[in-house]
C-alpha cells in the first residue's frame, strides 16, 4: 500500500515538473534599460500645440466634475509576466507598461481584457561591413560586399517573421522610417516601391550571393557549404536574448536561411551588455561578428524621421563614436542627402520628398542594415475601464492617461469617482527632482499626472494641442518649408527676424540678472524663428498643490535654471550641465516677457520644425524632469548651493567623499527630505526671494512668506515636496513597498471631459471594389470605401487617398490620387494608357488612406486579372 502511495506521489512530482517546464519562461526582472530621456530643444518648457482636431469618439457627455474622473489611483509594482493574470484576478485594474509578444496579446484576448496598441520596438539586422577579409582573423566577410548585404532583403521573408513570431500583429519593415508615423504616410508611394522591390525572393537572393561569393574566391564543397581558402565560411551572428525575447527566433530564422544557401552559422546568444562591446565598441575589422540582431525604440510619434538616414547609415551619426559607424562609407551624393535630411536643409516639401526618394535610392541599398519588423506593444486593462493612449508611447508616458482614465458604464459613459489599481514593472527607480532627477518611464507615469503642460501632444498625430495657451504666433524665415495645420497658431514668414535688444539671452551669475541681447550683441542679432505665446487671462488662478497661486515668477525661474546650473560662477554650478547648456545656447536667440498679466512671451531661436505648432515655445514651470514652483526651486537651490544636496547624479558623485556623502536630490523621500525641510525653514524665516535682482521685480516678501508657509503645510500633510499643478496630487509614498497613491486635485481648473475626444485613434478602414478582370488598354475604375466603425470617414478628416498599381511582376507601375466622390467614398480611375502598361496576368491595386487625425495610414489591396 505504502509503496503504491510512494509511486503516486513520485508521479505527481514528475508531472508537476513537466507541467512547469511546459509553462512560460520566467520573466526576467525589470532590466536596467533606461528609456530615452524626455529632451526638448527648448529650455524648460514643452512646445505647445494645436486645437483639438480629433473627432470625439465617445458618446456625447457633459459633466461638471473637474480634474480627473478617478478619485484615486493606487500604483504598485507587478511583474509584467503576470500582468494579464493579475488583471483577470482583480488584483490590479490596468497595467501601464508595455507587453510586446504575440503571446501577451493572445493572453489579453483570451482573458477578455481591453488593450492599447502602440508602436514599440523596430527590428533590423546590422551587418559588419569590414573586409572582405577580416584583418583580425584572415576570414572572409561576405557582408563587406554591398550586393550581398542588399540580397539579404530578398533572403528574409518578413511576412513569415510577422506571422510566426509576432502573430501577424506587427508590420513588415523595409525602411528606416516607421510605418505608423507621418513620413511613411507622406511618402507611402516611395515606401511601397521599395517594399515591392525587396519582396521575399529566396532564389534571387541565392543567385546574387552565389555570384558575389564566387567573385570573392569562395567555393562550395561537396556538402554544399561555402568555403574560402579550404575553410568553411562561418558567419557569426550575435543574437540578443534579452529585451522582449523575439530576437532569438528572428536570429534563428535568419541563420536558417543563411544555412540553407550554404553558410555555416555560429549563433552566439548574448545580452545587450555582452554584445555591446563587440558590435558597438569593437573594431569591425577584428572579425568577431558578422551580423547583429538590432532593435530600436520610439518614445513618441515622430513628425519627422528624415534624420534616421544619417543616424543609421552615416559616420556623422550620434553613434559616430562607434568604430562600426566609422566603417560606413556613403557616396558623396548620399552624404549630402543624409545631411540635408538631418538638418532640414531644404526649402520646400517637394524638395524634401525628392531627398527622401534619393535616400531610398542611394542609402537604403547600401544595406548596412536590413530592416525586418515594426513591432507593436500592448497595455492591458480590465473591461469597464477606459483610458487614452499614444500610438507610439502607449499609456504610461502619455500625460493624457491621468486625464482620461475612468470607469465606464455599459454604454461607455464615464462614471465619476472610484479608485484604480495601477500596476507597472517598477516605481521610484531614481531620485525624483525636476532639474536632473529620475527620467525613468516608471517615474514619469506619476510625474506627468501631477504636472501640467502649456500644450499636450496629440496622441494620434504627434502635433500639439494647447492646454494652458490661448493662442500663438510663429514667424519663420522665408524659404523655410513650415506649414500650419492648426487653428490656434498663426504662421508668418519674414525675410529677417531681428531679436529685440532687450530680450534676455544669457545669465550673469554674479549679478544674478539676465544679460540682454543688446549687451551681448551690440551689433544686433537675428534668428530663424520667433514664437509669441499668449496665455489666458485667468492663468494666475491656477493653484499649485500646496495652495499657492501661480505667478509670472514661476515662468521666469525655469529660464534662470536653464542657465544657472551650467554657468561657471553660479552658486549652483554643476559641471555636468555645461555641455547641455552650450548645446542649447548654440541655437537659442533670446526671450522676452512682453506682458506679465496677461502673460505673453516672445521666444527666438535658430531651431525650427516644419509643423507650425512645433515651433511654438510654450513656456511652463517645467524643468525637464517635472513641474516645480519657484519657491520649491528656491529651497532646493539653497540645499544645492550649500553642497548638501545635488540635483544631478554627477555632481552628487563629484562632491561625495567616503566620510561626507552628498545625496542626489529627491523631492519625495530619503535623506534629502530632512535637508530640504531645513532650508525651507530657513527660507521661510528670511522670506527669501531667490535671484532677487531679477525675481525681486516679480515677487514680494509677503508673497514669498505665504508661499513658504504653504509649502511647510504641504510637507507636514504629505511628507514630501513634489508640488505640481496637475490633475492629481502625489498623496502617499511607500518606497520599500513600492507603492504610491495619487489623489484627484480638487483645484484643477479643467473639466474632466476635456480630453475625451482622444479616447481612441480613428484608424480608417479601407476597402476596394471593382471588376475582377481588366482589359489591357481600356480604362478601368475601382471604388474605394473609407470608414471608421462602420460610418463613412468624413472627407475633411482625410488628407489624401493614394493608389498604387503593381504589375504581375510586383513592380510599381503607377501612383496617383483617388478622387473624392462623397464622404467615405472615392474612385480610382486607371486610364487606358495606364492599363496598357500592364502585362497579362494578375495585377494589384493598392490604396493608402492618409488621415489628418491619425498618423497611421490604412491600406487596402485588390487583385485583378489583366487580359
Amino acid at each position: 500500500m505504502s509503496r503504491k502511495i510512494m509511486i503516486v506521489l513520485g508521479l505527481l512530482v514528475v508531472a508537476s515538473m513537466i507541467l512547469a517546464a511546459c509553462g512560460p519562461a520566467e520573466t526576467p526582472a525589470p532590466t536596467a534599460e533606461p528609456p530615452a530621456p524626455v529632451e526638448t530643444d527648448e529650455p524648460a518648457a514643452p512646445a505647445p500645440t494645436e486645437a483639438p482636431t480629433a473627432v470625439p469618439t465617445e458618446p456625447p457627455f457633459t459633466t461638471t466634475r473637474t480634474g480627473t474622473w478617478m478619485d484615486e489611483v493606487s500604483m504598485s509594482v507587478v511583474d509584467s509576466g503576470s500582468a494579464v493574470t493579475q488583471i483577470s484576478a482583480g488584483a490590479i485594474d490596468i497595467y501601464g507598461g508595455n507587453l510586446a509578444t504575440p503571446q501577451d496579446l493572445q493572453a489579453i484576448r483570451d482573458a477578455g481584457l481591453m488593450n492599447s496598441e502602440q508602436y514599440g520596438l523596430y527590428y533590423e539586422l546590422t551587418f559588419n561591413p569590414s573586409g572582405p577579409v577580416f584583418e583580425g582573423t584572415g576570414k572572409l566577410n561576405p557582408f563587406a560586399v554591398q550586393n550581398i548585404r542588399e540580397a539579404m532583403n530578398w533572403l528574409v521573408d518578413r511576412d513569415y517573421l510577422n506571422q510566426e513570431i509576432y502573430g501577424g500583429v506587427a508590420i513588415p519593415k523595409f525602411l528606416p522610417i516607421s510605418a505608423g508615423f507621418p513620413d511613411y504616410a507622406r511618402y507611402v508611394d516611395l515606401a511601397r516601391a521599395v517594399e515591392a522591390k525587396y519582396a521575399y525572393n529566396f532564389d534571387k537572393a541565392n543567385e546574387i550571393i552565389t555570384t558575389e561569393m564566387e567573385a570573392l574566391g569562395a567555393v562550395k564543397n561537396a556538402d554544399g557549404k561555402w568555403t574560402y581558402n579550404d575553410e568553411l565560411v562561418t558567419l557569426i551572428i550575435l543574437i540578443r536574448t534579452d529585451s522582449d525575447g523575439t530576437r532569438v527566433p528572428q536570429g534563428d530564422y535568419v541563420s536558417n536561411q543563411l544555412e540553407a544557401i550554404g553558410f555555416t552559422m555560429d549563433r552566439q546568444y548574448k545580452t545587450s551588455s555582452e554584445a555591446s562591446p563587440l558590435w558597438v565598441l569593437g573594431n569591425p575589422a577584428d572579425g568577431l561578428w558578422h551580423i547583429y540582431t538590432g532593435a530600436w525604440g520610439v518614445s513618441g510619434i515622430s513628425r519627422s524621421e528624415g534624420d534616421n538616414f544619417q543616424f543609421f547609415y552615416s559616420p556623422k551619426s550620434a553613434y559616430g563614436f562607434s568604430p562600426l559607424w566609422q566603417a560606413y562609407t556613403l557616396s558623396e551624393e548620399a552624404d549630402v542627402v543624409s545631411e540635408a535630411l538631418a538638418l532640414n536643409d531644404f526649402n520646400t516639401f517637394d524638395e524634401r520628398r525628392e531627398l527622401f526618394a534619393q535616400a531610398m535610392d542611394l542609402i537604403v541599398p547600401t544595406a548596412y542594415r536590413v530592416w525586418l519588423i515594426d513591432g507593436k506593444g500592448f497595455s492591458p486593462w480590465k473591461p469597464g475601464l477606459a483610458v487614452s493612449y499614444d500610438l507610439a508611447a502607449g499609456i504610461d508616458i502619455n500625460p493624457l492617461w491621468s486625464r482620461t482614465l475612468r470607469f465606464v458604464d455599459e454604454a461607455g459613459l464615464p462614471i465619476e469617482g472610484g479608485t484604480v489599481k495601477w500596476g507597472n514593472s517598477d516605481l521610484f527607480v531614481d531620485p525624483p527632482n525636476p532639474v536632473a532627477g529620475s527620467n525613468w518611464t516608471y517615474d514619469s507615469q506619476w510625474q506627468n499626472a501631477t504636472g501640467d503642460y502649456a500644450a499636450m501632444g496629440n496622441p494620434f498625430t504627434g502635433n500639439f494641442i494647447p492646454n494652458r495657451l490661448e493662442r500663438a504666433e510663429v514667424t519663420v524665415l522665408e524659404g523655410l518649408p513650415v506649414i500650419n495645420t492648426t487653428d490656434w497658431v498663426t504662421l508668418d514668414f519674414a525675410a529677417q527676424i531681428d531679436v529685440p535688444a532687450d530680450a534676455w539671452i544669457d545669465w550673469d551669475p554674479a549679478a544674478e540678472v539676465f544679460k540682454t541681447v543688446g549687451e551681448v550683441y551690440p551689433d544686433g542679432l537675428t534668428a530663424k524663428r520667433k514664437s509669441v505665446v499668449y496665455y489666458p487671462s485667468d492663468l494666475y488662478n491656477i493653484k499649485w498643490h500646496d495652495g499657492s497661486n501661480m505667478s509670472v515668477a514661476d515662468f521666469i525661474m525655469p529660464m534662470i535654471m536653464t542657465f544657472a546650473p551650467g554657468t561657471e560662477g553660479s552658486p549652483i554650478f554643476d559641471e555636468s550641465q555645461v555641455g547641455a547648456l552650450e548645446s542649447f545656447k548654440s541655437s537659442f536667440k533670446g526671450f522676452r516677457i512682453v506682458s506679465a498679466d496677461p502673460l505673453t512671451i516672445e521666444y527666438y531661436s535658430d531651431v525650427w520644425y516644419f509643423d507650425a505648432d512645433w515651433n511654438v515655445a510654450g513656456m511652463w514651470p517645467e524643468y525637464g524632469y517635472g513641474n516645480a514652483s519657484w519657491h520649491m526651486i528656491a529651497v532646493s537651490n539653497l540645499a544645492e548651493a550649500a553642497n548638501e544636496l545635488a540635483y544631478s547624479a554627477d555632481k552628487a558623485d563629484a562632491l561625495s567623499s567616503e566620510t561626507a556623502p552628498v545625496e542626489w536630490m529627491s523631492y519625495v523621500g530619503g535623506p534629502s527630505l530632512e535637508i530640504l525641510a531645513k532650508f525651507l525653514d530657513q527660507a521661510a524665516a528670511e522670506s527669501y526671494i531667490p535671484f532677487a535682482p531679477t525675481l525681486g521685480a516679480y515677487i514680494t516678501a509677503d508673497e514669498a512668506a505665504a508661499r513658504y508657509a504653504n509649502l511647510q503645510q504641504f510637507y507636514a500633510d504629505r511628507g514630501h515636496f513634489w508640488v505640481g499643478t496637475g490633475p492629481m496630487i502625489l498623496d502617499q509614498v511607500f518606497f520599500v513597498e513600492k507603492t504610491a497613491t495619487l489623489v484627484r486635485n480638487p483645484d484643477y481648473p479643467d473639466l474632466a471631459d476635456k480630453w475625451l475626444a482622444f479616447s481612441a485613434p480613428k484608424l480608417a478602414e479601407a476597402e476596394i471594389d471593382g471588376a475582377g478582370r481588366v482589359t489591357i488598354g481600356a480604362e478601368a475604375a475601382f471604388d474605394v470605401f473609407v470608414s471608421y466603425q462602420g460610418e463613412a470617414y468624413p472627407a475633411d478628416e482625410i488628407d489624401n487617398v493614394k493608389y498604387l498599381l503593381f504589375g504581375a511582376d510586383g513592380a510599381l507601375i503607377e501612383v496617383g490620387e483617388a478622387e473624392l466622390v462623397a464622404d467615405g467614398q472615392y474612385v480610382v480611375t486607371l486610364s487606358a494608357e495606364t492599363t496598357g502598361k500592364l502585362a497579362a496576368g494578375a495585377a494589384k491595386l493598392e490604396v493608402a488612406v492618409v488621415s489628418k487625425v491619425v498618423s497611421v495610414p490604412s491600406f487596402a489591396a485588390f487583385e485583378f486579372v489583366a487580359e
Binding site: E26, A32, S82, D307, F321, G579, S583, E658, Q732
Partner: protein, 376 residues
Amino acid sequence: MSAESPTLEQTSGSVKAKATASTLSRVGKYTASRLITLFITVVIGVYLTILIANMGGYVDNIMRGEIREGIAMRLSQDQNYKNMAPEDRQEYVATLVTQEEKRRGLDRPFAVRSVGFLVNALQLKLGRAINMTSDSGSRLVSLIILERLPATLLLMATSNLILFFAAILIALSLSRRYGSFVDKMVVGLSPTSSAPPWFYGIFMILIFAAFLKWLPFGGMIDSPPPAEGLPYALSVLKHMILPVSALILSALFISIYNWRTFFLIYSSEDYVDMAKAKGLTDRDIERRYILRPTLPTIITSFGLLLIGIWTGAIITETVFQWPGIGRATFRAIGLYDTPVIVGLTIIYAYMLAITVFLLDFIYALVDPRVKVGGGK
C-alpha cells in the same frame, strides 16, 4: 620535607596555574591564527567577488559601451545637437562621455579601482553605488542595504526559523518511528526539494492568487496601503503567506529527511538502547542522549542559518516582488554595480567569519570532548 619544598597544595596550584597558562596560551595562539586565517579568507573571498563581478575588468568595456549608447540615444532626440557642426558634435559627445566615465570611475584602471574596492570594503566603508539608488533615493550603499534588510529579515527569518525548528522536531520524532508510514512518506517526498522555492511559488501564485483569489500575487503590502498599526501588519502578514510557504515547502521534506537520518545514527547508539532498556521516557532520551551529542551540529546549522537569513532569496523575492536584499542583489548584478555587490558580500563574509570563529568556542562549551585549539 624541607620548608623550601613545595607543598602538595602549592604543587597542585602551580600545576593548575601552569595548566591555565598553557590553556590561555593555546587559546590565544589558536585565536590569533584563526583570526588571521579567517581574515585572509575574507580578503581572498571579497577580492574574488570583485574580480568576478567585474569579469576581471571586462565590465569596464560593457559600461563604456552603455555610456556611449545612452548618450547617442539621448542626443539623437536633441534638436540643438543636430544643428551643431560635425566637429562640435564630436567634441560634445566626447565631453559627455568623459564626464560619465569619470563619474563611474572608469578614468582609472580597473586594477587600481579593484584594490580601492577591497580596502574600503574591509574597513566597511561601503561608499556610494554607481547606478543603483535606495528605494528612497539615496546612493549610499549602506542605505540601499539597510532599507531592504527588514523585509528580507522578516521573510527569511520567518520561513527559515519555522523550517529549522519544524524539521528538527519532526525529524526527532521520526527517528524514533523508523519505517512508519509518516517516515516513509517523508522519505518519499524528500525529492520534491530538488525544485527551488520559486518553482513552488509560481504554482502557489497560480492556485491561491490567480485561481482562488484568496491571497495576493506578490508585493509586501496592499495597494493602497492600509493605515499603520494592526491593519498594516495584517496586510504584510497576508503577503507573507505565499512566499514563506514556498520557502518552507521547498526545503521541508529534505530537511526533515536529513535531520531524521542524522538523528537515526545517534538513536541507534548502544547508550540510547541502554537508556530505553532502563525505561527512560522518550523525551528524556531525546534530550539527553540524542540532542545533546548532536548539539554542535545543530548549533552550526543554526548559526549558518542565521547569517544566511540576511542574504535573501534572489529569485523567490523576484517572483513574489518582495522588496528584499535578494532583489537588490539581483539588480546590482544586472547593473554591474560593484560597490553594492561588494557591500553585500563583505557583510556576509564578516558575519560568516565571525560565526565560524565563535562556533569553535561554542563547540567547546557544549561538548566537553572538544578543546579549543587542541582537537578532541
